[in-house]
């Protein structure tokens, strides 16, 4: 049986379906047809739910109820939702003309407002009993309202404040700003916690003010943009410019010097101050060192550089030849590790694209500022 409340929906669904048909036949446009069919399906679903739930159809159940039902007795309470929907609709209209983000925000506001309104309207007519009705409303809407509200509050605080900090002029000012705001939160908490007599207006005012300040700060900072954050230079940056020398550069500051639990590397290259030697698992110590190091081609070779020279040292790998993106050999090219402190370790993963006989230069490890070199054979 089609209930009163769902007649409109059923009618709309049928109309949308018909329109889809007409539109599809007359116009042949896929998008419009799909839109209308979707609308028809959505409306039909709503109609189904409405019918099944017997919404707004007390009379269908029992004619006595028609007289005694809430709808017949209680008057509707004032509602905030139409206003919210209007705001949302305005945002949508503005957004359509300017910012897509504003349009989406408006759409979300309209959806939320409509849902709240719907549930409020429905719950007020659920029964004649206020308590029951508010329970009914909470039953339906709380699971959505509470987490979404919590998420929005959290999102606003976290996002706005992060924008503010990104807008602050320097690293030290962020520390100060962060500390001040946190201290403020704690202080307000402490004051309010102790002053039990504080008026509600004052409390609301304080929180309202803080919220407005935060949102405003976030918006201003967001519009102003972040402070300039410099890209941290890496050894790759210097290697690309051929500035991979013995002296310390900014990329070497605080460069890590330890590698956790790395055994079974392809080779360990050791610098003792004058020469580069190598060890590799499986090679007999008497044969090592003097011979060139053989590493397989086209293979991720993990190599550790260990500085045992007593001073700082940098390992540079001459990668020649190397293939560019088009598969053509290019070179010479360097790979540059960070400066290793006395006893420090650098960890590198090297892939040799071509055999070393492909060009005359081949591959070699070297320590700039010294004569130490080590030939790498890639068969």
């Amino acid at each position: 049986m089609i209930t009163t409340g769902s007649k409109l929906l059923v009618g709309s669904a049928v109309a949308a379906g018909l329109l889809a048909l007409i539109y599809g036949v007359a116009n042949g446009g896929a998008l419009g047809t799909i839109g209308l069919i979707s609308a028809a399906a959505g409306l039909a679903l709503l109609a189904g739910i409405s019918t099944y739930g017997r919404d707004a159809n007390v009379s269908a159940m029992d004619t006595d109820a028609f007289e005694s039902s809430a709808a017949a007795q209680a008057s509707a309470t004032p509602s905030l939702w139409p206003l919210l929907i209007a705001v949302g609709a305005t945002a949508m209209a503005l957004g359509l003309a300017s910012l897509p983000a504003l349009f989406i925000l408006g759409a979300i506001i309209v959806t939320a407002g409509a849902l709240e309104w719907l549930v409020q309207g429905w719950s007020e007519r659920a029964s004649a009993e206020r308590g029951y009705n508010s329970h009914a409303r909470n039953f339906l809407i709380d699971p959505l309202e509470i987490p979404i509200a919590a998420a929005i509050v959290f999102g606003i605080v976290a996002y706005s404040f992060s924008r503010v900090m990104l807008g602050l002029p320097s690293k030290s000012s962020t520390v100060i700003g962060f500390s001040i705001v946190s201290a403020l939160v704690l202080a307000i908490g402490a004051v309010v916690g102790v002053k039990r007599g504080a008026s509600k207006t004052a409390l609301t005012g304080t929180f309202g003010l803080a919220t407005v300040a935060l949102i405003a700060g976030g918006t201003v900072a967001g519009v102003n943009g972040e402070r300039e954050i410099e890209v941290h230079k890496t050894t790759a940056y210097y290697a690309a410019r051929g500035e991979c020398g013995a002296e310390e550069v900014s990329a070497d500051e605080k460069a890590s010097q330890t590698v956790a639990g790395k055994s079974n590397v392809a080779a360990e290259v050791i610098f003792d101050g004058t020469t580069l030697t190598w060890t590799a698992p499986g090679f007999v110590p008497t044969v090592e060192g003097a011979a060139p190091l053989t590493l397989p081609r086209s293979n991720p070779n993990n190599v550790m550089f260990r500085n045992e020279s007593g001073g700082e040292a940098r390992l540079v790998i001459g990668m020649n030849p190397r293939l560019d993106d088009n598969g053509q050999p290019v070179g010479p090219e360097q790979i540059c590790t960070a400066l290793a402190k006395e006893g420090g370790v650098q960890f590198l993963t090297l892939i040799f694209d071509l055999p070393s006989f492909a060009t005359d230069e081949g591959y070699e490890f070297a320590v700039p500022g010294t004569d130490a070199t080590l030939e790498v054979v890639v068969p």
Partner: protein, 666 residues
């Protein structure tokens, strides 16, 4: 679910006669049905959930078995062509995944759910809605994984999913994504189930039941839940890393960035080895219940069985690298893990000795349940001993990843876990459904399965020692050898055996239908059992016990039925009460007020949101948002919903309306 005491009126003045939950809440009304499909879909009754777990698990047992039969059909001849290489890889991956995650684990959950509350004299588990949520997570996760068959192919990296073979370049289909996400979802089921059961066992035992008076099955389940509690997060980390690697281009397993592929192996096996005990300990618990009943003797060395279970649980964490003896760990780690692995054989051996000693001097009755239990002792011993041969790391380097290992763990898992499960099914069936299963068919079932499994997995010892590796979609004549050890011959034998095994297992299904058609109601205590779950009706009432029993003995039920009239060293047991007497006494002293929690929509809704999110990860980010919204709404709806339904939820909302209410006082 109507055993609720409710006030006659709500607070507040008006009581409108016609506004009922049905008319006001419509579809959003809380489900309170006790009959029909809704009573199953929204149930939170641990017994219904246990049955649902069981039915689903057995379905996946046959699905996994079907996959196994396809594998054996492919390998029946060398260079078989029934499956392509790709399909074969998917098949063995999904066979293992299905059997481990979708059959044995949920089957243990089925028994645990159904019998732990009954064995400890509780009315339900600690968190009934979480229990329901766990089941739906498992079911939706399982369905989710299996939908990959129709969406471009299932996972093809093996159930161990070693990196980097699981990375996108080596497995470009979405199969592994389905596997990763699906296991996360079933992992949630295991984790919530573990917390729930631990709290239940620790907090809700009947008065008088100290930990050392707890039935052994409950003990083993408790240990398993602790293993799950700590093992699941480890695989969760591994699966997250893999998901980030595959879907968000992280570098965790990118060797060209310097990654160490052994990280995955460590994470996987830190989970994976406890997982082995997660699979086997519930069955150990089951046979430790079954053997005493059919030997008419208490479990021999109960404290030692408990402690050896706990010892297995602890030491099980220190042996994971024995799956990696060939991975290149270095001699020191290998030696340590090799010795630790041998150490774990000791508590396992203790159990076998105790089982045999339980039978020793007993009064053995060979029902199907007992046969399966004895079958477990014998078959598991074979698997355990072959396990010792590869605890020896050097010898393992010859055996690992060959069919010898396949033979070993099938003797352990089929001969152990699966035979135990069947023993439990035959033993507890009359309790769960009030009907005995047919014993003749049961024995056929047992013998065909035993013959089938030995024909299938026995030859694999030979195949493996003759050097045939696992996971090969085809074998070649060039490596088959000649004469008695011709691998083609033994492969064929194994394939024939698998067919017998399949028929044997299917007899169980036939038996169920046959017995439910032919058999009348089962006696209340068909086996002369010993533990608490037999002290209530079959099947148990919704609230399990009319009066919560007070426990004085380990085998409480036995001691209520029998009295020792011997003197000194001489024992003479006389039956002083029947099960009917015990039940009647309980019913006479029934509790006046029994509160049971009410069914709820939220568990199934919440669980439904998870695969939606998972599809989102694979196909479209917006689906994640939709799924997330479902999950969030369900979570809060759940959190704000009282455990028991309020009077408003009934239709009509008067307590006198529900006829079932009277049962509580009956």
């Amino acid at each position: 679910m109507a055993l609720i005491e409710r006030p006659a009126t709500r607070d507040g003045g008006l009581v409108p006669a016609v506004v009922t939950p049905s008319s006001s809440y419509g579809v959003f009304r809380r489900p309170v049905e006790t009959k029909g499909w809704k009573s199953w879909l929204f149930t939170i009754d641990h017994k219904k959930l246990g049955i649902m777990y069981g039915v689903t698990a057995i379905f996946f047992f046959f699905l996994g078995g079907f996959e196994a039969l396809l594998i054996r059909a492919q390998l029946a001849t060398n260079e078989g062509t029934i499956l392509s290489a790709d399909k074969y890889n998917q098949m063995f991956t999904m066979h293992a995944t299905t059997m481990v995650f979708l059959f044995v684990m949920p089957m243990a959950a089925a028994f645990a759910n159904y019998f732990v509350p009954l064995q400890i004299g509780a009315r339900d588990v600690a968190f009934p809605r979480i229990n329901a949520f766990g089941f739906w997570c498992f079911l939706f996760g399982a369905i989710f994984i299996n939908t990959s068959w129709f969406l471009g192919g299932a996972a093809d990296g093996g159930w161990f999913m070693y990196a980097p073979n699981s990375s996108v370049p080596f497995s470009p289909t979405s199969g592994i994504d389905f596997w990763t996400l699906g296991l996360q979802i079933t992992g949630i089921a295991s984790l919530t189930g573990a917390i729930n059961l631990i709290v239940t066992v620790i907090n809700m035992r009947a008065p008088g039941m100290s930990l050392m008076k707890m039935p052994i099955f409950t003990w083993m389940i408790l240990i398993v839940q602790f293993l799950l509690l700590f093992a699941i997060p480890v695989i969760t980390v591994a699966l997250f890393l893999l998901m980030f690697q595959r879907n968000f281009d992280a570098t965790f397993f990118s060797v060209e960035a310097g990654a160490d592929p052994l990280l995955w192996q460590h994470l996987f096996w830190i989970f994976g080895h406890p997982e082995v005990y997660i699979l086997i300990l519930p069955s150990f618990g089951i046979v430790s219940e079954v053997l005493p009943v059919f030997s008419k003797k208490p479990l021999f060395g109960y404290p030692l069985v408990v402690f050896s279970g706990a010892a297995i649980g602890f030491v099980g964490w220190g042996v994971w690298a024995h799956h990696m003896f060939a991975s290149g760990l270095g001699p020191i780690s290998v030696a340590v893990f090799s010795v630790a692995t041998m150490a774990i054989a000791i508590p396992t051996g203790v159990k076998i000795v105790n089982w045999i000693m339980t039978m020793w001097g007993g009064k053995l009755v060979f029902t199907t349940a007992m046969l399966f239990a004895i079958g477990l002792i014998v078959q598991f011993t074979i698997g355990g001993l072959s396990g010792v041969t590869h605890a020896v790391a050097p010898s393992d380097t010859q055996q690992t990843d060959t069919y010898y290992i396949v033979a070993h763990f099938h003797y352990v898992l089929f001969g152990g876990a699966v035979l135990g499960i069947f023993s439990g099914l035959y033993y507890w069936w009359p309790k769960m459904f009030g009907k005995l299963l047919n014993e003749t068919l049961g024995k056929w079932n047992f013998w065909l399965m035993i013959i089938g499994m030995n024909l299938t997995f026995g030859p694999m010892h030979i195949i493996g020692l003759q050097g045939q590796p696992r996971r090969m979609y085809q074998t070649t004549d060039a490596r088959a050898g000649e004469g008695f050890f011709n691998l083609n011959f033994w492969n064929l034998v194994a394939s024939i055996g698998s067919l017998i095994l399949g028929i044997g297992a299917f007899l169980f299904v036939i038996n169920v239908f046959y017995s439910h058609r032919k058999n009348g109601p089962a006696p209340l205590d068909p086996w002369d059992a010993r533990s608490l779950e037999w002290m209530t009706a079959s099947p148990p009432k919704e609230h399990n016990f009319d009066a919560i029993p007070t426990v004085h003995h380990l085998d409480e039920f036995f001691h209520r039925k029998y009295e020792d009239r011997g003197e000194g060293e001489h024992h003479e047991y006389h039956q002083v009460a029947t099960a009917e007497d015990v039940l009647a006494e309980q019913e006479a002293n029934a509790d006046k007020h029994i509160h049971l929690p009410s069914p709820s929509y939220w568990p199934i809704v919440l669980a439904f949101g998870l695969p939606v999110m998972a599809y989102g990860v694979i196909y479209n980010i917006w689906l994640i948002v939709v799924g997330g919204a479902i999950v969030m709404a369900a979570m809060y709806g759940w959190g704000l919903e009282p455990a028991t339904a309020t009077p408003d939820d009934y239709d009509p909302p008067t307590p006198e309306g529900g006829a079932e209410l009277e049962v509580a006082h009956g």
